[in-house]
Amino acid sequence: MGNQQSEVPYGTLDLMILRTLDAMGEQHGYGIARRIEQIAQGALALNQGTIYPALLRLEQKGWIKSAWGTSENNRRARFYSITRAGSKQLAAETELWERTVAMVNRLLEDPS
């Protein structure tokens, strides 16, 4: 991976996880990590392990829920899905994110 990789910006991992679950439905931890890496196309240095504390955090907040199931290789695995509160939170955070990005962009593009 010769691409320039950056750290996961602080606070955005939660957003990414919520978005992934929203888009793809029920997923286990590995699936979520893979999906985020694919989307990032190598631009992100993600230690896959770091999503587990984030998953727990989101579950504690009630934004995602989990259930035990069986993985592709027939192992016991935990599957996560987004809750209604999570969808609402995702909408709110998406909007916030867009506003922030737009604001930062304007700031960076400002010729003066």
Binding site: Y30, T50, P53, K61, E72, A77, R78
Partner: protein, 879 residues
């Protein structure tokens, strides 16, 4: 909402930790396998695929640790580690640990002991259902007249008006009674006549029997009086006889039928043995009852007093004579029971709180000294990555462990202390028969623990973890470290120690002075070499006044004949007995101001009473055996009477007449003498009183007899006196006690409070001395190099000694001034509870200063002198 859910999730995780760990492990293993499979598919060998998977995943252990942190409470795991670490550290320095735990145990123990006493007396609920709605009601005159405060049936029946916020109103009448027993001495008991609302008002079910029925209170009820026994009386006198209901109690004046046994918790009026049904006329204005109210829940004191003011106003309008110008005073029942115990408890509790401050300061000081020695350890921990917060937490945990051990030991101290207090006499005070260690006490102890832990640990922790950790290392842990910071902390602590010690010592001084004043207070009679006892003549046998007089004359003559007896006197009531004296209206020379109610206490005495009491006749003459029924009636008044009513005129030219509710002109008689004031309560000034002689005024049914010995031990005469009374009437019960014991027993509370305060003052001085000695020793040790350098550069030991001493003593003086100011302020607050002592009493404040500054000087100068005797060259080379 979300935060709440997170907290719940975290708390839940504490209980299923192992299963969650297993689940997490499963989850991560599954993840790794999937990742490995992926790499194998990409063509890696299984081993390299596994390595790659692990690399992508990041540290498995670290992930698990992060998840665990997120899951539960980070601190909890770390906390138990910290506790183990603290225990190990403390175990390594047993001397330090022992000193710190012991000091804290003393402070926490004393505070908890006193708190548990205060809790038992003031905070513990009364055993009656809805106890907080119970009130006592008294009356007072709004025009300055004095009254016993007792209420009358008319007043209580007006309080049953449904428009008032009062659920129930009841009354009781306390009296002594003599019970006859087969083959045993008669027994004096405390009885209370009660109306039909009394038992329902308190709401406790009876232990045995049906109790009173409403018809027993009807005025036309002719049946023998019924009684309900107190649980205590039932067990001690009737041996808990389960068939006691229906039996009779024998009295000289007819039998009583037992209809029930009260609940063990029923104790109103306090210490009563049994309750008798009373037939009261609801229209009576006889003010001789204790009144009780049960108010509607949630009634405010203002609501109650304003509605009672309306009742008083209407009563005054309808019955202007007996009920005019009266007002009602209500008080929560618990306050009536505890009485003047509250101020003493508050004073003593404040003193123990200060004591706790002292112990905390001393332990802080120990910790600070230790912290300096540990600075290297802390620096290393900081260097290897411990955060500042972790270090502070660790140090706080250490002080928490100390405070915890101190609290445990302190609970032991408190338990022992309370038992000691009870043995010492507190058990004779209301509500202190037992002092329970209940949940409020334990909560209090826990609060003490937390306060101590933080109070003790915060200063050292902040100092150590405070900026410039590397300094510790670079300075090689030599204790010049933080010298400036420590110095300020030290100065503060010395100021606190001295100030607190001065405050407690001055407080103890105030209380002791007040107690001594009360004890020395001249009651107006001699207390030594005298015995007194009360006699209640049964009305059936001694109905005729002549019969009573003959009986009393015989008794007094017989007692006079007992070897060792010098004088015998009798009076209608004896000082300090809490007896209710009659207080009729009086007129002087047949006249009294129209709008003023002039009253005076009336006392009926035998001719020899003044002699027997050791009272002085200041003017005119005393009563003699010539003042008989047939001779002209005379009166003798006390000094207060002369001051208040005869100011400026010769008392011996005045005539007094008396009567109630209006003055009877036939009672007019000349005043023939003035005697000194006798205090009927040590706290209060004597009231105006006039004395009549028994031969002219009649012998009362209840008599106090006083016997003066010829100098021999009064106690030795008690059997002979009993024998004489027995000879005349074996059915009379009596308790004979020395007058000095009677006076002393009225001061039980004051004595207890004073003893405790003196004890605390001693402990405070000791703690302050130890603390200041330790701090100065530590501070001078920190300036070792400085001292050595000064000496090496030519300063004499004396120069350095004075330099350091001046600094030390300046700080002590600042503390002393603060202490005097605090003591003065505190004294002002409690002044009304002290007897003839002012908060600014210069002797007490000066003595407190001298005592505390004296020991402070010794504690300051000793370590400084030792520090100045070093050999500078040796000591500098060593450094």
């Amino acid at each position: 909402m979300t935060a709440w859910r997170v907290l719940l999730a975290r708390v839940r995780s504490l209980f299923v930790r192992q299963r969650m760990d297993a689940d997490l492990d499963d989850e991560i293993q599954a993840h790794l396998e999937l990742l490995t499979t992926e790499y194998i598919r990409k063509g890696l060998s299984p081993e390299r695929a596994r390595d790659a998977a692990r690399r992508d995943f990041g540290g498995v252990d670290r992930t698990m640790e992060h998840v665990r942190d997120q899951r539960g409470f980070v601190s909890l795991d770390a906390f138990s580690r910290d506790i183990r670490y603290a225990l190990r550290t403390l175990a390594r320095t047993p001397g330090f640990t022992f000193a710190a735990v012991g000091t804290l145990a003393l402070g926490i123990g004393a505070t908890t002991a006193i708190f548990s006493v205060a809790n038992a007396a003031l905070l513990r609920p009364l055993p009656y259902p809805g106890w907080s709605d119970l009130r006592t009601v008294r009356t007072t005159f709004t025009d300055g007249r004095v009254t016993s405060g007792l209420v009358g049936p008319l007043e209580m029946s007006r309080m049953k008006d449904p428009k008032l916020p009062i659920v129930q109103a009841a009354m009781s009448l306390r009296f002594d009674e003599t019970l006859l027993r087969d083959g045993q001495a008669p027994l004096t008991i405390a009885a209370a006549g009660v109306d039909e609302h009394f038992f329902p008002l308190f709401g406790l079910p009876l232990q045995l029997g049906a109790g009173f029925t409403p018809d027993q209170f009807a005025r036309n009820d002719k049946a023998a009086p019924s009684v309900v026994l107190s649980h205590h009386f039932w067990t001690t006198v009737f041996g808990s006889d389960p068939h006691v209901v229906g039996k009779t109690i024998r009295r000289v004046d007819g039998d009583w039928r037992i209809v029930g046994v009260a609940s063990p918790d029923m104790d109103v009026p306090r210490g009563i043995d049994l309750w008798v049904n009373l037939h009261v006329n609801p229209e009576s204005t006889d003010h001789s009852f204790d009144g009780y109210l049960r108010v509607q829940p949630g009634t405010t004191p203002e609501q109650l007093s304003s509605s009672l003011a309306i009742v008083a106003g209407r009563l005054g309008h309808d019955y202007p004579g007996p009920e005019g110008n009266r007002a009602f005073i209500v008080q929560p029942l618990v306050e009536t029971l505890v009485g003047d115990l509250r101020p003493i408890l508050i004073i003593v509790l404040s003193a123990t709180a200060l004591l706790l401050v002292l112990s905390c300061v001393n332990v802080t000081n120990l910790l600070l000294a230790r912290a300096t020695r540990r600075s290297r350890e802390i620096a290393i921990r900081a260097a290897v990555g411990a955060t500042r917060r972790r270090i502070i937490t660790q140090l706080l945990v250490e002080s928490l462990v100390l405070a915890g051990a101190g609290t445990l030991a302190g609970l032991g101290v408190a338990y022992g202390g309370v038992r000691l207090l009870l043995v010492y006499g507190a058990s004779r005070l209301p509500r202190l028969e037992a002092v329970p260690f209940d949940s409020p006490v334990l909560l209090f102890a826990i609060a003490m623990l937390v306060i101590c832990a933080i109070g003790v640990g915060l200063a050292p922790a902040l100092q150590l973890a405070g900026g410039g950790l590397e300094r510790f290392l670079s300075e090689g842990g030599r204790s010049v470290t933080g010298a400036r910071l420590t110095n300020r902390a030290l100065r503060t602590m010395i100021v606190v120690e001295v100030a607190v010690a001065v405050t407690i010592v001055a407080g103890a001084g105030l209380l002791a002075r007040s107690f001594v004043n009360l004890q020395r207070e001249d009651p107006g009679f001699q207390r030594h070499g005298r015995l007194t006892f009360d006699i209640q003549l049964p009305s059936s046998h001694y109905q005729a006044p002549d019969k009573r007089r003959v009986w009393l004359d015989t008794l007094l003559t017989n007692l006079q004949g007992v070897p060792g007896v010098r004088t015998v006197g009798a009076a209608s009531d004896f000082p300090l007995r809490d007896s209710i004296s009659s207080r009729p209206r009086i007129e002087l020379d047949g006249w009294s101001p129209a709008h003023e109610h002039v009253v005076a206490l009336q006392r009926i005495v035998t001719a020899d009473f003044f002699n027997a009491m050791g009272m002085r006749v200041l003017q005119g003459r005393r009563f003699t055996s010539f003042d008989r029924e047939a001779t002209a009636p005379v009166a003798i008044v006390n000094e207060a009477f002369v001051r208040k009513y005869l100011d400026g005129r010769d008392p011996l030219t005045a005539q007094v007449s008396y009567g109630f509710p209006s003055v009877n002109p036939k009672t007019r008689r000349p005043i023939v003498g003035v005697v000194n004031d006798v205090k009927y309560s040590l706290w209060d000034a004597a009231d105006p009183a006039f004395y009549l002689v028994q031969d002219q005024a009649g012998v009362t049914q209840r008599l106090s007899i006083v016997v003066t010995t010829d100098g021999s031990d009064p106690n030795a005469l008690i059997p002979a006196i009993r024998a004489e009374v027995d000879k005349l009437d074996p059915q009379l019960a009596l308790t004979v006690e020395p007058v000095s014991a009677l006076v002393a027993s009225t001061l039980t509370r004051q004595k207890l409070g004073t003893t405790l305060m003196l004890l605390f003052a001693g402990i405070a001085v000791l703690l302050a001395t130890i603390g200041i000695y330790g701090m100065i020793a530590y501070a001078t040790a920190a300036r070792h190099t400085e001292i050595a350098t000064r000496l090496a550069l030519g300063a004499t030991g004396r120069n350095v000694f004075w330099l350091l001493s001046r600094q030390g003593l300046t700080v002590a003086a600042a503390g002393a001034i603060t202490g005097v100011a605090v003591a003065y302020g505190a004294g002002r607050l409690v002044a009304s509870w002290l007897y003839e002592v002012r908060a600014s009493d210069p002797v007490i404040l000066a003595s407190a200063l001298v005592v505390v500054l004296g020991v402070t000087m010794v504690a300051t100068l000793l370590p400084i002198r030792r520090a100045c005797r070093i050999d500078p060259s040796a000591s500098l080379r060593f450094e």
